[in-house]
């Protein structure tokens, strides 16, 4: 009996300290979501402006030509950029991204293409390394707070590979798998094709102004397109970072809730055990006293 009591007491102690840790993690994640969301908002003006400028540029030069806009029908290799996190403790966040990218690679293989993974984040990197799969490039160390320099590095590598042919180790198209931050409660894994860029003729009433170009339209396009690609990647990194923090918060919240529930169960069990021990002790004493009284009475 006493042994069971001691054991329960120990278990309660350990669950309590775990709950403290997960509660702290939950609060840290909550404050970081706000920061991550602010970063998303702060990056919006640049993304909007660059899209606007590109739209104006493209709509004024019908038949515009740039390698980044061209389909490459001869290339059979497709890059898949998988954006995972560096840390765990985030529920199914990374599992969802990896499941989706596996599905995408299967689809690509069915279409007769060869998928080439490019991986961001330690969790994704270890997943691929453990299975001995080859990856073209990995990046890590910034999944919590990506800055633009990271997006620039990734963008440069990807466009470089895109411009190469298959034989040189290049790719014909680039897909990205990332997690979109819809709200605090909903994050959705998204699959987007990054390159070649698709030009959509948007029917809007506003005619973009007739720009002059300094020094020339093609120079402007040369600068704008890579910048646009980098800003898209930056956007995806920021969205993923915000989603990651939201997943951490949710995972840690349910861990804390579970720990508290467990504490209730253990506390009741302990009380029961203590009560049973006391009852037994009393009945032993009473029984002993009765026995003594009987033997003394004779």
């Amino acid at each position: 009996m006493a042994a069971q009591l001691r054991q329960l007491r120990q278990q309660i102690k350990s669950v309590k300290s775990t709950a403290k840790i997960t509660r702290a993690q939950e609060m840290i994640a909550t404050s970081r979501i706000v920061k991550a969301q602010q970063a998303v908002t702060a990056s919006k003006p640049y993304a909007d402006q660059i899209t606007q400028a590109l739209t104006a540029l493209v709509s004024h030069h019908v038949g515009i030509d740039h390698p980044l806009l061209q389909e490459q029908p001869t290339d059979r290799r497709s890059a898949v950029l998988v954006i995972t996190s560096d840390r765990g403790f985030c529920g199914a966040y990374n599992a969802n991204v990896i499941r989706e990218s596996e599905a995408l690679m299967r689809r690509l293989r069915d279409a007769g293409r060869e998928p080439i993974p490019y991986v961001i984040g330690n969790k994704g990197i270890t997943w691929y390394r453990f299975r001995g799969r080859e990856v073209a490039e990995t990046w890590h160390g910034f999944s919590d707070r990506p800055d633009f320099a990271n997006a620039e590095r990734i963008g440069q590598r990807l466009t470089e590979d895109f411009l190469k042919t298959d034989a040189e180790g290049g790719v014909g198209e680039i897909h990205v798998v990332y997690t979109e931050f819809v709200s605090m409660l909903t994050q959705a894994v998204q699959v987007k094709r990054l390159l070649p860029l698709e030009i959509e003729e948007a029917e809007s009433g506003k005619v973009p102004p007739a720009y002059e170009f300094e020094p020339s339209a093609s120079a402007a396009l040369d600068l704008l397109l890579p910048n646009y690609v980098e800003s898209r990647i930056f956007h995806m990194l920021l969205q993923s970072a915000a989603s990651f923090q939201a997943s951490v918060r949710r995972a840690m919240k349910s861990a804390t809730d579970n720990a508290n529930e467990l504490l209730g169960v253990y506390t009741r069990q302990m009380n029961q055990a203590r009560q049973a021990a006391i009852t037994q002790e009393i009945s032993e004493i009473v029984g002993g006293a009765d026995a003594l009284a009987e033997s003394g009475g004779e």
Partner: protein
Amino acid sequence: MANLRVGLVSPEREIWSGEAKMVVAQTVEGSLGILPGHAPVLGVLLDGSVVKIEPANGGEPFLAMVGSGFFSVAADEVSVLAEQAELGKDIDVQDARRALEDALAAENDDATPERRARARLRAAGIEA
């Protein structure tokens, strides 16, 4: 006279926005002054140059350093988009000096770091 609505943005945040009387930016081909009523222009910025903005509220004109990027002017709206952008008053002069020394010591063909460092010093109000 109408004013220009100016936005100076980097990918990470909006550096400055507001109304201005005049904006001077440097393209690869030379300086370009923009006044209200300017024709629509989309220009490539000189990597490592200084943009001058004269606010409409009568404040002192100020400088900002810009790295690789471009600017667009349309209907009195000026947006300057640069991968690196810093307001003159936010620049750490010591740090910029060090960057310039490093760039000079590096001795490679790429003149961009040197130009950026010089632009930072210029934007901070120090001739270099």
